[in-house]
């Protein structure tokens, strides 16, 4: 079963910085980010593409980076939780998660925040139902989600203001 597979050269722009590496085709994007580049903000919480802890934005779209091979991201622009704050200022969504106690153990939080970003990018003032629909792909076992809903509402209000 062991076959020698050529490694592939990839170039990916991550949080505004270009990275070039040679990777095995089977290397998952999440492992590329975490193990190769040391961007350990996105987490791994399952293996069936359910939990969303590994959510990052690829070319502006939220995806589960455990369900994408790094080679598929060749040439793409990737944004992870580490790239969300700019010039040392927290993004309004990060601030809202802090203010509203949207995180407990924090494991789902980076994915949850990135999914929230996608949600607010597409809908600047979502209703509670739209918030819940938009975060359906992210599991949290700690918060019961209520403070997360509050955080997204609050971020929307601040970003719209």
């Amino acid at each position: 079963m062991m076959i020698a597979i050529m490694r592939r050269a990839i170039a990916v722009t991550i949080n505004g910085k270009r990275h070039s590496n040679e990777v095995e085709p089977r290397l998952l994007l999440i492992h590329y980010l975490r193990d190769v580049l040391g961007l350990t903000g996105p987490h791994i919480g399952c293996e069936t593409s359910i939990c969303g802890a590994c959510t990052v934005l690829v070319n502006g779209k939220a995806i589960k980076s455990c369900t994408m091979f790094a080679v598929q991201a060749n040439g793409a622009d990737v944004l992870t939780i580490e790239g969300l704050a700019s010039d040392g200022n927290l993004h309004p969504i990060q601030n809202a998660f802090w203010e509203e106690h949207g995180a407990q153990c924090g494991y789902c939080t980076p994915g949850m925040i990135m999914a929230s970003k996608q949600l607010l990018d597409r809908n600047a003032s979502p209703t509670e139902e739209e918030i819940r629909h938009g975060l359906e792909g992210n599991l949290c076992r700690c918060t019961g989600y209520q403070h997360i809903v509050n955080a997204v509402k609050s971020a929307a209000a601040k970003m719209g203001a």
Binding site: L28, E47, K61, G137
Partner: protein, 281 residues
């Protein structure tokens, strides 16, 4: 979590892709939403992955002589958010919006989904009701098959070895057509326990055309011809919906027994028919 090693190929044209897929150890990769989880669990172990995303022209959504042509690599998000699809074929947009979650819809493609032919996927119900045509390309050329012919059995389609779904064509809905997709979802996976797509033409409540597509209920999506005939002959929606389960060997699992699934099919068929009727007005 970790797939078997594979080689990764990136064709730049359709003929090149088809050439690569002629290798029986090669598997096409579109969005990967069905394939990659299987590979991570090592249930699937293709030796070669042929990434189709570099093949030009497979993502477009356009209108052409009364039909919408959806490229196989259009994502579920492209479809649910496309103004064209929402305006001219809302049933397809509605089915797309029911798939998985935001992240899955951002990556998953219509071609990949239907080629996988999961018995509980959402598109097949809509495509059956829409009498969609699916274009399948092979080295010998491209052929078109109807949705009814396309979905053969559990995980089995009309796509032959080395072939590729390249386009899905659906009708532009005529005035007076109402459609709806109603889904009872399994709370863990989000797959349909049953999903029913209804597509009706009605004038002042009289149904002149009925197309009902069903997913999740049995091993393969299907058209509920019995229900359609009843609706077209003036039967009331509730009574017609009740016929959906006739002669069906329903699936059974820990989430729903066959008996309950059959019941849900009747309930969701009635919901879909009522919603489609309301939309037709």
């Amino acid at each position: 979590m970790i797939a078997h090693p594979f080689d990764y190929l990136t064709p730049k044209s359709l003929p090149e892709a088809l050439l690569l897929l002629a290798d029986p150890d090669a598997k096409a990769l579109a969005g990967g939403m069905s394939l990659i989880p299987m590979m991570k669990l090592r249930l699937a172990a293709p030796a070669k992955l042929v990434d189709l995303r570099g093949v030009p022209g497979l993502t477009s959504i356009s209108e052409e002589s009364g039909r919408l042509k959806i490229g196989a690599l259009a994502t579920h998000f492209d479809i649910e958010s496309s103004r064209l699809v929402r305006a001219k074929c809302p049933l397809l947009a509605m089915a797309a919006a029911h798939i998985g979650d935001v992240q899955v819809r951002n990556m998953g493609t219509i071609g990949g989904s239907i080629a996988h032919a999961d018995p509980a996927a959402d598109y097949p119900a809509a495509l059956q009701a829409l009498e969609a045509t699916i274009s399948i390309a092979g080295v010998g050329g491209t052929r078109a098959v109807s949705a009814a012919e396309f979905f053969v059995d559990t995980f089995t389609t009309a796509v032959g070895p080395g072939e590729l779904v390249v386009e899905v064509s659906v009708p532009v809905e005529a005035a007076g057509t109402g459609t709806s997709y109603q889904k009872c979802l399994q709370p863990a996976s989000g797959f349909a326990i049953v999903g029913v797509a209804a597509r009706l033409q009605a004038v002042s409540g009289n149904i002149s055309m009925a197309r009902i597509g069903v997913t999740g209920l049995s091993g393969c999506s299907f058209r509920a011809n019995g229900v359609e005939a009843l609706l077209e002959s003036g039967s009331d929606p509730q009574a017609a919906a009740a016929a959906i389960a006739n002669g069906i060997d329903a699936n059974s699992d820990i989430h729903a027994s066959a008996e309950y699934r059959l019941h849900l099919a009747r309930v969701y068929a009635a919901k879909a028919i009522r919603a489609a009727l309301a939309a037709a007005r």
